[in-house]
Amino acid sequence: MGERIIDPATEGWAASWYEASARARLDGLLDAGSFREVIGPEQRRMSPHLPLFDLPRAFDDGMIVGSGRLDGKPVLVAAQEGRFMGGAFGEVHGAKLVGLLRAALALKPDAVLILFDTGGVRLQEANAGETAIAEVMRAITQVRAAGVPVIGLIGGRAGAYGGGGLIAGTCSRLVVSEGGRISVSGPEVIETNRGAEEFDSRDRALVWRTMGGKHRRLTGGADAYADDTVRAFRQAALDAIARAPAFDLATLEAEQKRLEERLARFGDCRDATEIWGRLGVNDPAAVPALTTAEFDALLAGLGETTHDAR
């Protein structure tokens, strides 16, 4: 495996998660010097397909996997680089995550951490990417059933879109920051298919309150809300490992109930602010501007958004 390879952009724990590269995130998330990469860039296991589209390749295909320690606990980690091909799932990219999850079944780490940063399937390798996403979801449920929590961390520039959103929904716990968007169809996709009246993708405030971290946390789509710093994600990941739900019939029945209740309660809402109002938020319009401390205080008064039904 050789020597650890790092990116000089690492600026320590205060660095912005959103701005950091995937390597810098891993470097700051894990205990210092503990990351050991598997299939590192020196092995040059790049996409066999991108050159046919005249597109440049990356040494790690935008997916960095390996092992490390989190406050001393042994963990397996995967990080997507959202700036390379939008962090999208291609053949090599997806297979590295599939392999990591299969390794987790044998190694039984304290957790598997997935640092999402993806637009979904890489169209140039669409069938391979889509199949890999299905393999990842199957493997995640097997890892969870074996008692190993799978924690998703979402705060990258590409968010967790398309199949990435489905994988996120399969994890035991999700940590999001303000910038972490979770969705299946992205704003541009909806606008292209349905028109700007349905979704104006240039309306960033609309994007944030429909798919962003605060909305997902308020509605129970994510379990923890973190500041946009590597330090905050590290602490949130540690907290999440300690209280991950099992993967069994009771959990999925509870999730069924939770999702049915959401439809019954909010199914006629047109905007996120209506949902927040019905949740009991006194001033929904003020939510986007709340600091993390203010937002956490708000959440503390809305117990129902915290659950084990995932």
Partner: protein
């Protein structure tokens, strides 16, 4: 895609003992540089894959300037280019060489 390879002789080996390093990301206007201490002390190679064809002379000049400034003897350098400007390329190459000197 266009592939370019440049071989240079250096006066000395790059200091430091680090075996390998990577810097940068393959994105529009950016590039990644992988550096490996894999060659005899007086040699350096730079291999480039770029989607922008026809800029071989510019690459040759940027690489020659880098070799003269950094004296990266012993390094095998591999570049995946996302269409970076020459000044960005220079910066990343020098950044990479500094990482190897740690």
């Amino acid at each position: 895609m266009e592939s370019l390879t440049f071989r240079h002789t250096t006066q000395k080996a790059l200091p430091g003992a680090k075996a390998q390093a990577i810097t940068g990301v393959v994105a529009s206007g950016n590039l990644e540089v992988l550096l490996e201490r894999a060659l005899p002390a007086s040699e350096c190679t730079v291999e480039i894959e770029t989607p922008i064809r026809g800029y071989g002379e510019v690459w040759a000049a940027v690489v020659a300037d880098f070799v003269a400034r950094a004296q990266p003897g012993g390094l095998r350098i591999t570049v995946n280019d996302g269409g970076a400007r020459p000044d960005t390329v220079s910066l990343r190459l020098l950044q990479g060489a500094r990482l190897m000197e740690v």
